[in-house]
């Protein structure tokens, strides 16, 4: 299962980077989202996949039989932050398209050096 997920993560990173390199600013935001998902999935996978072992402490407490709850907490936080950042980015590009009058990143080089 780890191998499959590793390929999925790699594909997500590749897709994210490829999408970000397009000239269309909407694709840029989609690419950023994909990168975030790839990172989340990476944490999920690398912390170890365990099946049907909920991290609930019962009378017979044995840590090695439980899934590690930490990665899920990390990912949950990261998803929430990613959601906020994505919605900000969407508003931003909406304003950018309004102000600059185009969605082409090649026309946004006025401030470059």
């Amino acid at each position: 299962m780890e191998t499959v997920l590793a390929f999925v993560i790699g594909a997500l990173y590749a897709a994210g980077l490829f999408t970000m390199l397009r000239r269309n600013i909407v694709r840029l935001v989609i690419g950023l989202g994909l990168l975030g998902h790839a990172a989340n999935l990476l944490i999920f996978t690398i912390a170890g996949l365990t099946r049907a072992r909920p991290p609930l402490i019962s009378q017979s407490f044995a840590p090695e039989t439980l899934a590690d709850p930490m990665p899920h907490a990390l990912i949950l936080t990261a998803i929430v932050i990613g959601f906020a950042v994505q919605s900000f980015a969407l508003v931003l590009i909406y304003r950018v398209i309004q102000t600059v009058g185009t969605d082409d990143l090649d026309n946004m080089k006025a401030t470059d050096t």
Partner: protein
């Protein structure tokens, strides 16, 4: 639990919340903003004093035992950074009162400023890598909005690049954190330090270290990841670019120093050599970029990049003197660079442009301002007796001790080129005669500016210049402080013990 440890986060948070409650009254927001910044400075100084007297301190939120709970920890390095954040926060808060237009003020500039300060301080006092990520995001979110607030075309274009590159860096940081957790099984920095020192050498750890280097390197604008900085920092209003220039990249440098002294010291010969090479290249490209520019704030932006090189240089050498030099340099740089940006704002107000070609003649109309520019400008170049001299001198001495002569030569040559850039600004802006058409606008501006707002403009600039001179003339106390901070960084035993307690 020591309340001082979380005050640097609590004070700006309270200020931001109160500012938002007073959304309709700008007068209250302004007062709250200045009071909040002043209290933050006070909290920072108290924290610094407490850490100086009692050593490194740590606290666990909600009393969860480490490494499971949220850890807040402050060593001298953190405390110095929090105190300096307070200084810059207060200077910009006062300066904003006079320079910001009404539109930005009504759309929540003051709450955002304090949320930014909260994120910066949180990043400095956290003792947990994942929390560091969260604080980075808090800081970034506030900075995104500050960057775009106002909606001018240049700001929008700058913001797209700034947001994109920072989000990419965050995604990398997150991936690196996840991988580190997968390998070591903890994210508490003290716990990580202990476990990584005990762990056998692994190539995967070096890979993770490099991921951190890239992630923080983007945020700190290290070569070759700095292009977003000069493309965006000159677009927002001056008060915003001043606080960005002073603080934000330095949070990246702080994270680099923290991670590469506390965690990744397994393969110093490799990782820190990479950092050294990056340091040299950062210094050179930054200063050469500045030489080619002819706009006040763009020159200053490129100089941020070149100065970051010096800070990383100290980290790469990885000796007590070198790290002391780095920390000294950060303190000096934050004060001086913020000041230069603030001055660029006054120049813009006087003559209505940042283009060096259209500026001129300010020495005859505003002699005091000219002198106030010279102090940080020469300090940036490293002329004695100003603060930059002591900072550069320490770093160069550390470099000679470690026999990295090429980098020392680079650092000195870059200092010379910095002087060249600063004299270029001086000659073009202050010394040469004013171009014909701008004199009329200057006269009009000078009359329209009320006396009170002039004071608000000049007070922060004069105070920061005074601090620069003071650091230069009486370098001993700060040098002792930074040396002690560097010792704590090199030998993390005290840090680990403060967080985890006796084992």
């Amino acid at each position: 639990m020591n309340i001082l440890l979380i005050l640097p986060v609590l004070v700006p948070m309270t200020a931001a919340v109160l500012c938002m409650l007073a959304w309709n009254s700008l007068r209250i927001q302004r007062a709250l903003s200045v009071i909040g910044a002043a209290l933050l400075l006070a909290a920072g100084l108290l924290l610094l004093r407490s850490i100086w007297q009692n050593g490194i301190q740590a606290a666990q939120m909600n009393g969860w035992p480490p490494p499971f709970g949220i850890t807040v920890v402050a060593d001298l390095f953190s405390a110095i950074m929090v105190a300096i954040t307070g200084v810059i926060g207060l200077a910009t808060a006062v300066y904003s009162l006079a320079t910001l237009d009404r539109e930005r003020e009504t759309f929540g500039y003051y709450p955002l400023l304090h949320i930014l300060l909260m994120g910066v301080c949180g990043a400095f006092v956290t003792g947990d890598l994942f929390n560091l990520y969260v604080w980075f995001e808090v800081m970034l979110m506030a900075s995104f909005v500050l960057m775009a607030l106002g909606g001018e075309r240049a700001q929008m274009e700058g913001a797209v690049k700034y947001v994109t590159i920072n989000l990419v860096a965050s995604a990398m940081f997150l991936a690196a954190v996840g991988m580190l957790y997968g390998v070591v099984g903890t994210l508490n920095m003290a716990d990580l330090a202990q476990k990584l020192r005990a762990a056998p050498r692994m190539d995967l750890l070096t890979t993770i270290a490099m991921l951190f280097l890239i992630a923080f390197g983007i945020k700190a604008a290290v070569f070759p990841l700095f292009f977003w900085l000069p493309a965006s920092y000159h677009t927002p209003p001056v008060a915003v670019s001043a606080i960005f220039a002073g603080l934000l990249t330095k949070v990246g440098v702080y994270a680099l120093i923290r991670v590469f002294t506390l965690l990744f010291v397994q393969d110093v010969a490799y990782t820190h050599t990479v950092i050294l090479a990056l340091a040299g290249l950062t210094m050179i490209t930054g200063v050469l970029g500045a030489v080619a520019q002819n706009e006040f704030r763009r020159i200053l932006s490129f100089h941020i990049v070149s100065q970051i090189g010096y800070m990383i240089f100290g980290l790469g050498l990885f000796t007590v003197t070198a790290l002391a030099g780095s920390i000294f340099y950060i303190v000096h740089h934050i004060i001086v660079k913020t000041n230069l940006f603030l001055i660029s704002g006054v120049v813009h107000r006087a003559q209505g442009t940042y283009e060096l070609k259209k500026l001129g003649g300010l020495y005859s109309t505003r002699p005091a301002l000219s002198i106030l520019f010279l102090i940080p400008a020469l300090s940036l170049a490293g002329l004695p007796p100003l603060s930059g001299f002591v900072a550069k001198f320490t770093l160069v001495r550390a470099g000679l001790e470690s026999q990295s002569y090429i980098l020392v030569a680079t650092a000195l040559a870059v200092g010379l080129l910095t002087l060249f850039s600063m004299t270029k600004i001086w000659a073009e802006t202050f010394w040469k005669d004013a171009p014909a058409e701008s004199e009329t606008t200057a006269a009009a501006m000078a009359i329209s500016a009320p006396l009170a707002s002039r004071w608000l403009l000049m007070m922060p600039i004069a105070s920061l210049a005074l601090i620069t001179v003071m650091i230069g003339l009486a370098a001993e106390p700060l040098y002792v402080l930074t040396s002690r901070a560097a010792e704590q960084l090199i030998d993390p035993a005290e840090y680990i013990q403060a967080v985890l307690g006796r084992r």
